[in-house]
Symmetry: C2
Subunit: 252 residues, 2 copies
């Protein structure tokens, strides 16, 4: 676990459906935004298949290195949901039925409908505590610095919302974006000079293509709102000379 002042996070996306291209992942972006808003920068993401050894290896690498690790996917009732077992294996603990989780499922489904399959969703690594699922009852799990969340984006986001106030927050990250129909190669040198003037601000240059025309988004990111504003104004001045319709926007 990181001992730094500023907390850090990693995301482990578990699922063959992402790697096969069947499903477009939406969780990375949602997690990045929600954590960034409370000053917990997302530092690394891995996507691994539904294979226990792969999940264990990636989880152990990530949880040793970052303040928090969030996993998404593989916690449902079916045969391909192996995340709980893999997380337990990563921590070297057994899996057992969690009484609190069983109670939640019992309340949600009723005794007559609490089938063996549904009870699978009450299994947790020993030492795990519950993460609230306001959407569909089956809880996520917290164990040490690891949060095991659902894969369905709406449920994952509701789970993350339910725990985010319990995480250690860092200084909020701000960013301003300057966009212009200017190829980045035209301004690369001046851009380097601006980046050098603001060493504590992350200044990124992201080319884009719209209808065959090249443009660039220049992004100033960091925790010092006043320096970000100064940097973004310098970026805007740089591109306004080349594209009078250049814009500066405040990122949400």
């Amino acid at each position: 676990m990181s001992g730094d002042d500023i907390p850090s996070a990693a995301l482990l996306i578990i699922g063959n459906e992402i790697l096969s291209g069947r499903t477009q992942d939406l969780n990375l972006n949602a997690v990045a935004k929600k954590l960034g808003a409370v000053g917990i920068p997302l530092k690394e993401v891995r996507v691994v298949p539904d294979l226990e050894s792969e999940i264990v290896g990636a989880l152990n690498a990530l949880r040793a290195r970052y303040s928090y690790v969030f996993t998404t996917g593989g916690i449902g009732p079916t045969h391909d949901d192996i995340t709980i077992d893999a997380v337990a294996s990563a921590f070297g603990v057994a899996v057992s039925e969690h009484e609190g989780a069983r109670a939640l499922l019992l309340k949600h489904y009723g005794a007559d409908n609490l089938t063996t399959a549904r009870l699978r969703m009450a299994r947790a690594p020993l030492g795990g505590t519950l993460v609230d699922n306001p959407v569909s009852a089956a809880p996520g799990i917290k164990i040490e610095n690891v949060y095991v969340l659902a894969g369905v984006p709406s449920i994952m986001q509701a789970m993350l919302d339910s725990i985010i106030s319990t995480l250690r927050h860092g200084p909020a990250l701000h960013s301003l974006t300057v966009s212009a129909f200017v190829a980045e190669s035209v301004i690369a040198e001046e851009l380097s000079a601006i980046a050098a003037r603001f060493p504590h601000i992350d200044i990124g240059s992201y080319p884009w293509v719209h209808n065959g025309k090249f443009g660039t988004a220049l992004v100033a990111r960091g925790t010092d709102a006043s320096a970000i504003k100064q940097a973004a104004e310098a970026l805007l001045a740089l591109v306004l000379a080349l594209d009078p319709h250049a814009t500066m926007t405040c990122d949400p």
Copy 2:
């Protein structure tokens, strides 16, 4: 590098803009589909920031393990484009100006406009060869089993299209999807039994929520088209009993 009969691939997405949530990644899905179509399964994805040590560590882990590694992002002309240097560092080789790349940029920009910044895009790790960029001239780089591609999705895809016929193809992956308004917990046991009957087929169960109603997509994936069809028919029969509007679709 993998010595298996079936080639494998990993993707290394380089970019603060993905980790900050500013940009929704689209490259994972596109790479997964293009490689899957020629029988090269994508086995792992990592997303790392624009930091040389992070890129080097991830690239060396991935290139040792998979037949092919594709990187996206960080090969433009600006100060934050450090992928070429990081790849060279991972391979322990120097970076120098690639004559062929310089010639391409000269042709594209003309001698008067081939600025120092643009010439940065002619830099390559020693031993690297060029990957064609049909969109904007600045080439990608191939070095051993690593392909260094652009981050802009349209350019990345054009680069991948230009090299895909040169890769070692495996048996094509097929998949059929059965969708129904049936909660996966209702069918979990029968689903396990079907999965056990088709051990060489990957059978996945993916819950979804539409307007508050729960449904499930059951996906049969693999290289044996006839077994996939049999498995999907068994899946369809299972859910038709519960939702007469269940559908079976052939994935692209």
